[in-house]
Structure formats: structure tokens, C-alpha cells
């Protein structure tokens, strides 16, 4: 115990505090710019951390990561463009809130929610890492397949507006997810002899195009202001937002736990976490109909979940040496270069580094609260105050820089504009961008899981048992069936009861 206490004190050194502070600050800015992702931020800074003590270096990387995941919510709220893929669900209610003139409220809620999610994720990392890591190993190809299917069924729950149109959008996303060289089998699919497409549709540039370009085009054609101003634009609306989050404390904790749990599954990531959390929140909420029109509860669900994946993702990274998320992969590489071996021994033999790191992450999450609130207020005010003639070129500039820097490739920029055009046309026809992006993200996971399960089941000469006869698979299948049929059954049940009542 004394050991852990000294680790805690060493994480509190002035240098570490300063590093965590600047890490969070840089992370928020990078995350808020569409296209500049947490992975890239961490990768750029890796060489600088070699000059530091291993634990200090890790603290910076963790702080940047935390900041960037939170920063992604800003552009989601202010310009309807997720800064990172994990903020897709934040656009559902964040942007409508901002449109209504409650952008300041949305920014504050998102910061408080991210803080709650982040803290719960880090606490799980500190206390339950080894047992949770062994749970993540119970997820094989079959479980990933069902998890992705669960995410896809939730699209119908999320649907803002037309259900059929969002299903068509999701199918388009699924189709797009198959472009490129198949991981299993190595076939080239729908690449049209363009070698750029060999690696598949690049999700982030497609996302920037689909979400951001329609907003820019609308902004140019529209008269009046981008966002409505609230009556009291100068305040943070702190009391109101704290009260709102506090009144939804159970929902916030549920979101954080969902995020942590999905975070421990390598490859699943923040986008699935926030979608599942959002879907659950909507399903169990009293104001279901308000979701997608600026419901703070939806924002809380999404933001608690995606920040909880930070702590959750470090669990397989540190315990198993398997990166939970792409930024974790970079941090794992940095650990290797510094000669730190992950795995069981990390928590026993090199525990002081691990615990200093976890405390550092904890500190960074705490700093997120004041920093995020203050910077968020400034960002919101400037977006509101900047005249449209300046705002539009700035956003276009950012989308170009962002999509270029994903792979240092100009083709990504063309690609982004191409998707922007498609997104705008589809938007006019009433199709939303989010089902397409979700289909794109989930399709790859679902397909790989399905084919891998088939190959393994075939080798075991029992394909059907491999899909259905595993405890976690059964739970997931039940959740999927519930999601699909519960609303209909409820309707039928209510109708019958009404009929009975009428007869009486």
C-alpha cells in the first residue's frame, strides 16, 4: 500500500502536473479539429517522450489521448462534424441543442459527462484491470460479429426521422465497408482499378465529407446565423448543466460502464461504445421522442461512454499487450521502445510505472473539467461571433488539412469532397449521414467476425454451434431480438389492452 502511495506522490511531481496539463490542452485542440485524430496526436509526440522519464512520457501520451477524445465532441456540437469517429453519437443531440441556442449548455454537459466517463474508466483500470482483461479474451470472432449486429440493429432505434431511409443508409454503409482487399481471402472488391481503394474506404475522410460538407453548403446558402444565440451568452450555464447531469446520474454511470466494457474489447472502439450507450439511453428514457432533437440525456450517454473507453482500452493494452484502440497501439509501441514489457509482469514487477501512469491519467481527467469548461466557452463564443464569411473558409480549410493529414495523401482530400457531394445530395433527399458511417464502421467488424467464425466452425465441423452455443453470443442474440421485436410487441400488447378496456 505504501508503494502505491509513493507512486501517487511521484505522479504529482511538478513536471508531471505540467505535462498532464499541457497534454490535455493540446489533446482538446487536436481532437476538436476534424481529421486530426487522437492516434496522430499521440504518434507525433512519441519521440519527444523518449527524452522524458518513462512514466512522465506515458502521462503526456495518456493526457493527450484523454483530451483528444473529449475534444471530438466540440466539432460534433458546433458544426455537426464528429472530430473523432467516437463522437458520431454526440452529433445526434449535441448539434440540435446548439442550433436551438443551447450550445453553451451542450458544451458544458459534454465536458461534465466526459469527465464522469473518464474517471469511471480510469477507476476500473486501476482496480479491475486483470479480471476485465480476461473477459476481453472471451470475445472471439463470433462475439464480435454479434456485437456489430447489435450495433446495426440500434441504428433503427437512433433513427432521426425516416426509419426506412436510415436502414437504406446503413445498407449503403455496409456496402461501402466491403470496398478494398478483404482481410479474409484477400479478394479485391469494388476497387475499380484505383490502388488507393485497395485499403478500403478511409473512414475519417468519408466521415468529414458526409457530415461537414453538407453543413458548409447549407451555411453558405442560408441567411442568418449559423447557431442561434442563447439569451445569456456570457455564462457557462454551469449550475444548469451540473444539475442536468446530476439528475441523470444513473444514466451517466450506465454510459460510463458501457464505455468501459466496450473499451476493453480490442478493435471495437469508442464509436460502438457511444452508439450502444445512446441506444440504451433512448430505449429506457422517459422522453424518447425528444432524442435526436436536442435531448441532453442523449448527449450524456454518448460522451460518458466514449471517454470511458480511454481507461477501458488501456486494460487489454497493459495486461495483454493487445492494443484496445488505435492510439493504444502507438502507446504500446512507445512502451516497447522504452524496454517496458506489458503483460502480467507489468502489474507486479514494474508496477510503479503502471500506477504512476494510471494516476497520471486520473489527474489528466480531473484537469479536463476546468480546462474543457473554460476553453469550451471560448470556442463556443468564437464560433457564434465569427461572421459567416470567415467561418466558412476556416471550416473548409480545416476539413482539407484534416483529411490530408490522415495518410499524408492528397487523394484523401478528393475523396472527402466526393463523399461531401454524395452526403449533400443524400441529405437533400432526407438521408442522414450517421447510419452510413455506422454501417461503414460496423460492417467491417461484422464481416470479419462472421467469416472467421465460419472458418473456425467449419474446422470444428460444427458451424451452427459456433455461432449460437456460447454464453456471450446467446446474451447478445437475445439483446438483438429484443431490440428488433420489443417495440412491435409492446405496440401489439398496448393495442390489445386498449381493446380490452374498450370492451369493458
Amino acid at each position: 500500500m505504501t508503494n502505491i502511495f509513493t507512486d501517487f506522490l511521484s505522479s504529482l511531481s511538478l513536471i508531471n502536473l505540467g505535462l498532464a496539463f499541457s497534454g490535455v490542452l493540446a489533446g482538446i485542440i487536436i481532437g476538436a479539429l476534424p481529421g486530426l485524430s487522437a492516434t496522430m496526436a499521440v504518434a507525433i509526440l512519441v519521440p519527444f517522450t523518449f527524452a522524458l522519464e518513462p512514466s512522465s512520457g506515458l502521462i503526456v501520451l495518456g493526457a493527450i489521448y484523454t483530451g483528444a477524445i473529449f475534444g471530438g465532441s466540440w466539432s460534433a456540437i458546433l458544426i455537426n462534424t464528429p472530430g473523432t469517429p467516437s463522437a458520431v453519437a454526440t452529433t445526434f443531440d449535441g448539434y440540435p441543442l446548439a442550433k436551438k441556442g443551447d450550445g453553451d449548455l451542450a458544451m458544458s454537459i459534454s465536458c461534465i459527462s466526459s469527465f464522469i466517463g473518464g474517471i469511471i474508466g480510469v477507476i476500473c483500470l486501476a482496480l479491475f484491470a486483470p479480471p476485465l482483461a480476461s473477459i476481453s479474451l472471451m470475445f472471439g470472432p463470433t462475439e464480435y460479429f454479434w456485437l456489430a449486429v447489435l450495433g446495426l440493429t440500434l441504428i433503427s432505434t437512433l433513427a432521426e426521422g425516416d426509419n426506412i431511409k436510415s436502414l437504406i443508409g446503413a445498407c449503403l454503409g455496409l456496402l461501402l465497408s466491403m470496398v478494398g482487399v478483404a482481410v479474409v481471402g484477400g479478394d479485391m472488391r469494388m476497387t475499380w482499378n484505383i490502388s488507393f481503394l485497395n485499403s478500403g474506404i478511409e473512414i475519417v475522410s468519408a466521415m468529414i465529407g458526409l457530415f461537414c460538407i453538407p453543413v458548409i453548403l447549407d451555411l453558405t446558402s442560408m441567411k442568418g446565423k449559423h447557431l442561434n444565440e442563447s439569451e445569456t451568452p456570457k455564462s457557462l450555464r454551469l449550475k444548469e448543466s451540473f444539475f442536468l447531469v446530476f439528475s441523470k446520474k444513473f444514466q451517466a454511470v450506465r454510459g460510463a460502464l458501457i464505455g468501459t466494457f466496450i473499451g476493453i474489447l480490442p478493435g471495437a472502439g469508442g464509436s460502438i461504445a457511444s452508439i450502444v450507450s445512446y441506444g440504451e439511453a433512448k430505449r429506457s428514457s422517459k422522453n424518447k421522442d425528444n432524442f435526436g432533437k436536442g435531448e441532453p440525456e442523449g448527449l450524456i450517454a454518448s460522451e460518458t461512454a466514449n471517454n470511458a473507453t480511454v481507461g477501458g482500452g488501456f486494460i487489454p493494452t497493459l495486461c495483454l499487450g493487445i492494443p484496445g484502440t488505435p492510439p493504444d497501439a502507438v502507446i504500446l509501441g512507445a512502451l516497447l521502445v522504452q524496454g517496458i514489457r506489458t503483460g502480467d509482469t507489468l502489474f507486479t514487477q514494474q508496477s510503479s510505472i503502471v500506477y504512476t501512469f494510471i494516476f497520471g491519467l486520473f489527474l489528466a481527467t480531473i484537469m479536463l473539467l476546468p480546462l474543457g469548461l473554460l476553453m469550451g466557452r471560448y470556442a463556443y463564443k468564437s464560433i457564434i461571433k465569427i461572421p459567416r464569411e470567415i467561418l466558412i473558409p476556416i471550416i473548409i480549410f480545416l476539413t482539407i488539412i484534416g483529411s490530408y493529414s490522415i495518410q499524408n495523401n492528397i487523394l484523401n482530400v478528393y475523396f472527402m469532397f466526393f463523399f461531401g457531394l454524395i452526403g449533400w445530395i443524400l441529405n437533400r433527399a432526407g438521408f442522414k449521414a450517421s447510419p452510413i458511417v455506422l454501417g461503414l464502421v460496423l460492417g467491417q467488424i461484422a464481416e470479419q467476425g462472421f467469416v472467421q467464425s465460419y472458418i473456425i466452425g467449419n474446422a470444428q465441423e460444427n458451424i451452427i454451434a459456433n455461432y449460437f452455443a456460447k454464453p456471450i453470443s446467446i446474451v447478445l442474440v437475445i439483446l438483438i431480438l429484443m431490440g428488433l421485436f420489443l417495440p412491435t410487441l409492446k405496440k401489439i400488447y398496448n393495442k390489445k389492452r386498449r381493446n380490452l378496456n374498450d370492451q369493458r
Binding site: 479474451l137 482487399v181 485499403s199 504500446l332 461572421p387 480549410f397 499524408n408 470444428q460
Partner: protein
Amino acid sequence: MNLKSKIIKIFAIFAFLLSSINVASAGVTNIIPFGPGGESDVTARMQQPYYKNIYNDDMTVQYKPGGGGSVGWSSLNDEKNDGSVIMGVNLPHIIMQPIAKGEKAGYKTDDVNVFAFFHYTPDAILVEASSPYKSLKDLLSYAKSNPGKLTFSGSGTYSANHLLTISLNKKAKVKTTYVPFKGTGAAVQALLGKQVVAEAGYSTVAAKQGSKVRMLAVASEKRLPAFPNVPTFKELGYNIVSGAYRGYALPKSASKATVKEWSDRIMKINSDPSFKQKMEDGAFVVVNIGHNKIKKFMRDQKKANKAIAKDLGLIK
């Protein structure tokens, strides 16, 4: 605050962002055609401090991922040829991709002007620690009596991992099932989660996972210093020496002097004992294939890979 000062502020922020991008591109640039965190990235990161020490110049690592490296390699010859830019190259990728995909790969093997390979990660067969199979012999006798039931996880299709299982099938006259995953991490996850019987991976997996896995055989010439108890395939009677080689290339138009200078630089870092130690601890095998040996080496590799491609039915 008036509008003007705000605009100035905004442009100041942009200038700062742009300048930070500029700073990052000073010195020489090492383009890794994969995402960050993989073996190519990690070993380039290991070279970084040594390069700085020897040449007092910064080596910046950039990423240009996509298509298993093909996006980077197909644009290699458009990069600056003055030696300020080098690009990571991998075997068997640069040979197998043009064979498997033909024109669609976007480049030909001979377009990639490789000047050095500095290490390789030997292929290896691993099982989870609690697995009943203690040796390669145990594993293969299971495969013999249960054709197709022995499942291997591995990273990708037509990759080094995939090719290893094909060579093994042929040389040990067994039938096994290869299950491709996206990346080594996912393949290891499937092994530790007992979704598959064994993994066709690299020696580096054993170094990273320690006591959680057991390496049954390694496809190097000699036993690895970090794993003196793990036999090579050769010792066990299967003539398999394979793995993923990693090195660097320059644009084709680079002068002979530039090629020689870069080859010397990479070899000089290789000769540093502490660098070698670091690499060996991670189960990377340091090799010194400089610009004067590269032609013959590539010729041999092409021959070997073509033979495997024939077995796969990729070429006639």
C-alpha cells in the same frame, strides 16, 4: 474585443499549427507505409535516437498507411530523390502483392529501389501456455490424425503468417486451417482466448507475451538469443527459414552516392552493440544486407516467393 483582433488571433493560431507541421518535417523523413504502432514503426523508433547521436540530425517518422503498404510504395518514386526522404519496405509484401494483385497493386517489385534490410522477424508457431501441445511434433501429429481441425490464427491473407502455414502444410504433409485476422494484435487475442489451436505469427509475439504463450518452433537459421530453448524448423527437419524482412528504399532516381550513403548509415546504426541488444530483446533478428548485397538477396527472395505463389495457385 473587436472583430479585427479576433481574425488576427485566428490566423495566429493557424500560423502556429502550420509551423508545428513544418518543424516536424525538418531533417530527414522516414515514411512508414503502415499505421503507427506496428513492427515497422517500433523498429524505426528504435533507430531514431541512434541516428540523432551519430549524425546530429533528426529523423522524423511519418505514416502513409493503406493497402498493406501498397499505397506508400506506389508513390515512392514521386518522393524527393536527394536523400532527404526514405521509405520503409517489407518482405514478402513487396514481392507477394504484385504477384497476387498484378497491375492493381499499383507498383512493381522492381520499382521499389530497396537499398538495405536491417532486421527480420522470423516466423514462428505458437500455442497458448495451457495448451496440451508441448512441441511442434505433438501439434503436427494432432493435425495428421484430424485433417483440417488444427486452426492457426494469423495476420492477413498472403502474408508471411499465411505463407508459413502453407509451407508447413506442404513440408509436413498435413492439412490445417488458417484463419486470417486484421493485424497481429487480433491474431494474438484469438490465440490467448483459445478461439484457435495455435498461431502462425512472429517471434516477436513470444517476446511480447512472455509466459502466456509457448513458442514451438522458429523459422530462423539459428536459435534466437532471447529463446535458447526454442528449436528452429531446420532442427526439426523442416527446411523453413522465413519471416518478414524490414528495410528501406529510396526513389529510383536517387544517385548511387545517395544510395551508398544511406545504406552505410543504416548499417552503422546496426553495428551499435546497444542497438543490437535492444532489437534482440524484442526478438528481432538484426541482419546486415546493405546496398552491395541487396541485388542477390532480392533475386533469391523472388525465387522463393514465386515457388510458394505457385503452390497457392496464384501463378502458373
